[in-house]
């Protein structure tokens, strides 16, 4: 029986890795890969669902479930489905809500799975994307690097269509890698995990994506704060901050092309600095004005790309590139409040009683996911490269019992209680 559970655990890790990679392939710069992956990524998702349900059936326990969190998630999902009643495209809304339901079912089934295997699966998938990106760089430099323009310097995009895409996934993978690095004991694993951290950090730095850089930093600090103690915690936090500063500094070295003296439109050329908004701010304001037209319930789940119109010269995206404004656009204030409540229900208990177990890695990834969500629209869009990883992390941080894995505080409280009694 134990051998069966062990095999199932590794099967689950493999299914997770393949699914993460398949979703990355679904937004690949390589047309042939993209053509097949856009269909087969959904097959992978359903295989993962089957594997996760099989694993859950073997070790299901009603007692370990975070009921408050699950109720909020169910509310969000119900709202997504019900929004078909007022959606500008009911069919699209139902399809998108269905895909979100599949991801939620997978994440819920993983609540009773061996957490470390889940983390290894997610990490392996992200590492495969990173290694494939390096392979692309070696084989097809033009595809792997977005050429410099008058606004942007050359940016590394690896296997993906956009420099921000893979960077999002790597930002979510960094806290997992940091956690495993801090808790693993074998030398070989440490070498592999160090290489993985360098791969992710290096790829994000070369992409120049600022949101993922910040997400990786916040996620790593959460893990360090939870796992390390005393002086080691301070040292690791300082090291993390120094690495972040170095990444930001290095990412500023490549320069954009010089702008022509006068542009044909007469408009001043857009020059991007570390603190300019890459056109996002204007797009966000425009999207908020659109959301104000249907404030309470929005335009319907999954309709962000349909509703948002890019009318902003310095901005280039079909989406708002902010998951929270995107949620408000799709589901109104009701959806935004529910989404924030879900995030709070996941991370709140962890913040009150931090755990040093695998839950710390999930908290780090969830925190990174919520930070990156400020600069990218992806939390509610299942086809995105990072959505599966983000939701699995949110479920797992909500799900694992605090008392079992945690915390010196609880233990000391119990000891104090037994003494006073």
């Amino acid at each position: 029986m134990r051998r069966y559970d062990n095999a199932l655990g590794w099967l689950l890790a493999a299914a997770l890795a393949v699914t993460v990679f398949a979703f990355a392939a679904g937004s690949s710069i390589q047309y042939q890969v993209l053509f097949y992956a856009r269909t087969y990524r959904w097959v992978c998702l359903f295989v993962l669902l089957g594997t996760a349900l099989l694993s859950a059936a073997a070790s299901w326990s009603w007692n370990r479930l975070p009921w408050g969190f699950l109720a909020l998630v169910a509310g969000l999902l119900a709202l997504a489905f019900c929004s078909a009643a007022w959606s500008v495209d009911a069919s699209l809304t139902l399809r998108r809500a269905g895909s979100l339901a599949v991801v939620f079912a997978i994440a819920a089934a993983l609540l009773v799975a061996p957490a470390r295997r889940v983390l290894i699966g997610l990490l392996t998938g992200a590492a495969a994307v990173g290694i494939t990106g390096l392979g692309m760089l070696a084989l097809d430099h033009g595809a792997a690097v977005q050429a410099a323009s008058t606004q942007y310097p050359a940016r590394f995009q690896g296997f993906e269509q956009n420099p921000d895409t893979a960077a999002l996934l790597f930002a979510l993978a960094i806290p997992i890698t940091v956690y495993l690095l801090l808790t693993t004991r074998t030398g070989l694993a440490r070498v592999a995990l160090t290489a993985a951290v360098l791969l992710f950090v290096g790829s994000i730095t070369a992409s120049g994506a600022r949101g993922p850089m910040l997400g990786g930093l916040v996620g790593s600090l959460v893990v360090v704060a939870a796992v390390a103690q005393g002086r080691r915690r301070l040292l690791l936090a300082a090291l993390t901050l120094a690495a972040f500063a170095a990444c930001v500094g290095i990412s500023r070295i490549p320069q954009a092309k010089p702008a022509p003296p006068t542009s044909s439109s007469g408009a001043p050329p857009v020059r991007r600095t570390l603190f300019t908004s890459s056109g996002r701010r204007a797009a966000w304001v425009g999207a908020i004005h659109q959301a104000e037209d249907r404030p309470a319930a929005g335009y319907g789940f999954g309709t962000e790309a349909l509703v948002f119109v890019d009318r902003y010269p310095a901005f280039d995206s079909d989406l708002v590139e902010n998951s929270y404004i995107g949620a408000a656009l799709q589901l109104g204030i009701a959806g935004l409040v529910l989404l924030l409540a879900v995030a709070l229900a996941a991370l709140g208990p962890f913040a009150r009683a931090p755990s040093r177990g695998a839950r710390a890695a999930c908290a780090g990834t969830a925190a990174a996911a919520l930070v990156v969500a400020v600069t990218q629209s992806y939390l509610l869009s299942v086809g995105n490269i990072g959505t599966v990883t983000a939701w699995i992390s949110l479920f797992l941080v909500a799900g694992q019992p605090a008392a079992a894995a945690s915390s010196a505080k609880i233990a000391s409280r119990e000891i104090a209680g037994s003494h006073s009694g």
């Binding site: 109720a71 009643a85 037209d293 249907r294 319930a297 319907g300």
Partner: protein
């Protein structure tokens, strides 16, 4: 025995002695969703009415589609819409009317003042009740030299 009865009392909480707390919460959630369905549909209708009013104003400012101020076009917006553009004074792009391929007016832009006034139902063209003769739009686009879409 005491521990057992305490456990029994905490695992079966009641509200008003008749319904369990989860059942009450579930009922409240269903009621909230029902209200949201009503509110969502109402918001959709109100938004469509407001956008249609704006589009009618711009259409009235243009007058007949075939007039001497028709100066430019945009085609294949989102692979779904084609637009006719009219000048006012020195502004060659002052008024814009966009139609879907059935002749429904789905978006208008009034650029006569500082910030463009946009009225749009491009996310839900079926909600537009303003219809023009699509053959007329095609004829005008051809006259302006637009390639067929």
């Amino acid at each position: 025995m005491r521990a057992h009865s305490a456990k029994t009392s905490t695992t079966r909480p009641t509200t008003g002695g008749r319904f369990s707390r989860p059942a009450v919460l579930a009922l409240a959630a269903v009621a909230t969703l029902a209200v949201l369905v009503f509110v969502g549909r109402w918001e959709g209708r109100r938004h469509a009415r407001s956008e249609l009013a704006g589009m009618r104003q711009t259409l009235a400012a243009v007058g007949p589609l075939d007039n001497r101020t028709l100066t430019a076009y945009r085609i294949d917006i989102d692979s779904r819409f084609d637009c006719l553009i009219y000048k006012r004074g020195s502004n060659r792009l002052a008024l814009e009317l966009c139609f879907d391929r059935t002749g429904r007016l789905v978006e208008t832009i009034d650029r006569r003042s500082g910030s463009p006034k946009i009225s749009s139902l491009r996310e839900d063209p079926a909600a537009s009740t303003i219809q023009v003769d699509w053959a007329e739009v095609v004829r005008l686009l051809k006259r302006l030299g637009a390639p067929s879409t």
